[in-house]
């Protein structure tokens, strides 16, 4: 099949792409763009092994949906992940291109939102209500997946580092340090973002003020016109 028939990450004919937030993940995504997704596959294989071992109840809850394929699409990364929750042989596959016909459902959102959802730190319905998460296709398997993952009590860092045996504690400390560094980078990026959009924000504010003035003027003119007709 030609690549033009497929979607890369979030892009799909007819669908309106979500705009990713300006964040460290977006920059990381741009940096990862030249990388072949196959190079990341071992990481996802390891992640699946750990999740299977630590949270067998996830696949148990998804038993009725083992034949469905769910595309998890982090909009700020240049690849998507296909989940096949077959209890006997689950698969998590990283892909650059995804054929819309090969998936039953798609969950789309910024990576950090998807991770927070997986860890139960945010409520899936609330994300949907506020339009921070897009779901398409088979809603039933998406709801089942959301409930199964939320019910498992996943802590990604703890789960992944615990698989390292005697290296679990140092790995945990390393992960905490990395998260702290990411937090610091995020703060810097937010300053950069504010600085970049400041002229636009200022322009919009003055346009808003001008529109309000004009609206008041129109209102006054209409009132005067009505009086004139009376």
């Amino acid at each position: 099949m030609m690549a033009s028939d497929m979607m890369e990450g979030q892009y799909r004919p007819g669908a309106k792409p979500m705009t990713p937030p300006f964040s460290p993940v977006l920059l990381l995504g741009l940096a990862l763009k030249p990388l072949r997704p196959a190079l990341l596959q071992p990481l996802f294989d390891a992640m699946l092994r750990v999740v299977r071992r630590q949270h067998p109840d996830i696949l148990e809850r998804l038993e009725a949906y083992g034949d469905r394929v769910v595309c998890i699409d982090p909009i700020d990364l240049p690849f998507a992940i296909l989940l096949e929750p077959n209890p006997a042989e689950p698969r998590l596959t990283v892909r650059r291109f995804v054929d819309a016909d090969e998936v039953h459902a798609t969950i789309r959102g910024p990576l950090e939102t998807l991770i927070a959802l997986a860890e139960g730190k945010v409520d899936g319905d609330a994300l949907f209500f506020s339009r921070q998460l897009v779901i398409e296709g088979d809603t039933e398997v998406v709801v089942a997946l959301r409930n199964a993952i939320d019910g498992a009590g996943i802590d990604l860092i703890a789960d992944l580092t615990s698989a390292l045996g005697p290296f679990a504690n140092p790995a945990r400390r390393l992960a905490d340090a990395a998260l702290e560094a990411a937090h610091s980078v995020r703060s810097g990026i937010e300053t950069l973002r504010q600085s970049l959009i400041a002229p636009a924000v200022q322009g919009a504010a003055s346009r808003d003020a001008r529109i309000a003035e004009l609206e008041a003027e129109v209102k006054a003119l209409r009132k005067a016109s009505r009086r004139g007709h009376a």
Partner: protein, 332 residues
């Protein structure tokens, strides 16, 4: 002056992790359901196996909290076994009460499990003293979950008339505008209902389409709403659909909104209600933790005579909007 009675906080849990979150956030009771059509939240991937319930009850009891099991759908004619088994397993696993709606099931539970505490589900729609007395006298029902149609004053009047039967009222979460347990809108569109199958607008019949200009929600092929760019969305239920009538597009039954009575807790506590119920077994544990913490703080503040805390729950409400529903009856 009448002494205030501390109400129990009855909190939802769709999974063991949510049960843990509820208990840790200060729930007095947690209500749950089995992973089948015996309860009104029979959603994909949700609810408890027998083993999970056993572990959940042990965890809750260790924290001094109770566990109530909702078996609140109406058994299929001639095939009540699944419901009878759910009641028997709840009794065996030492659940603190079962929440039932069906008269036949209440009779069965009262006869076969006389020591099991019975609560009447909101699905039974018992909203006046005569109806409540019937359930209390015939089946020994100890508590009634009131439908969301009464004002605070009406609840206080009902309470005075039915004592010692306890009342439980919803204080937060999704709203049903229809007569509880009798709504047929979901059945009309999908063939499945919360009353018989435990699902309102089942996910298997829901589709969302994201297009330029907004998102469209469909239920069993019927387009029931379209949300514009950035407009907060709601559940895909027919009662919250937007329809064209007399040339005008509007929410004919109800807008997407969540009940929130946090600011009314002092009045509700004065009305002598035994238990405050938070809706949302289908919601994630982040919702459970946030809402339970908020109401724990609210109830504790009222009981201690402190000012009510100002807690913003906007981010987790349906459609980004809140209402005090029938309690104040300020709507049209």
């Amino acid at each position: 002056m009448t002494e205030l009675v501390r109400p129990e906080l009855v909190c939802p849990a769709g999974t063991p992790a949510a049960l843990k979150s509820a208990v840790e956030a200060g729930a007095d009771c947690v209500y749950v359901g089995f992973r089948d059509e015996t309860n009104a939240r029979n959603f994909p991937g949700l609810n408890f196996s027998r083993k999970e319930l056993e572990e959940g009850i042990a965890l809750a009891h260790d924290h001094g909290a109770k566990v109530l099991v909702a078996i609140n759908t109406f058994p299929r004619a001639g095939r009540p076994d699944l419901w009878h088994q759910a009641v028997a397993d709840s009794a065996r696993l030492k659940a603190d009460a079962v929440i039932l709606a069906d008269i036949g099931l209440l009779a069965h539970a009262a006869h076969h499990h006389p020591d099991l505490r019975l609560h009447l589900s909101v699905q039974a729609a018992a909203s006046n003293p005569d109806s409540i007395r019937f359930y209390a006298e015939r089946f020994g029902v100890k508590r009634v979950v009131l439908p969301r149609v009464l004002t605070v004053q009406e609840i206080a009047t009902v309470n005075a008339a039915i004592a010692p039967v306890e009342t439980e009222v919803f204080v937060f979460g999704g709203l049903c505008v229809m007569a509880e347990g009798r709504c047929a809108l979901s059945s009309y569109a999908t063939g499945q209902s919360p009353n018989m199958n435990g699902v309102c607008s089942p996910a298997s019949h829901v589709r969302y389409e994201e297009r330029a200009g907004g998102i469209t929600s469909q239920l069993a092929g019927f387009t029931i709403n379209k949300f514009g760019e950035g407009e907060p969305a709601g559940y895909p239920t027919l009662c919250k659909g937007r329809f064209i009538a007399n040339g005008k597009t509007s929410y004919l039954f109800e807008e997407p909104t969540s009940l929130n009575t946090l600011a009314m807790l002092p009045e509700l506590i004065k009305a002598g209600i035994t238990a405050f119920k938070i809706e949302g077994r289908q919601r994630g544990r982040a919702y459970v933790a946030a809402v339970v913490q908020a109401f724990r703080q609210g109830v504790d503040a009222v009981m201690a005579g402190r000012p009510m805390p100002d807690i913003d729950l906007d981010r987790i409400t349906e459609g980004g909007r809140q209402t005090t529903g029938a309690y104040e009856r300020t709507w049209r």
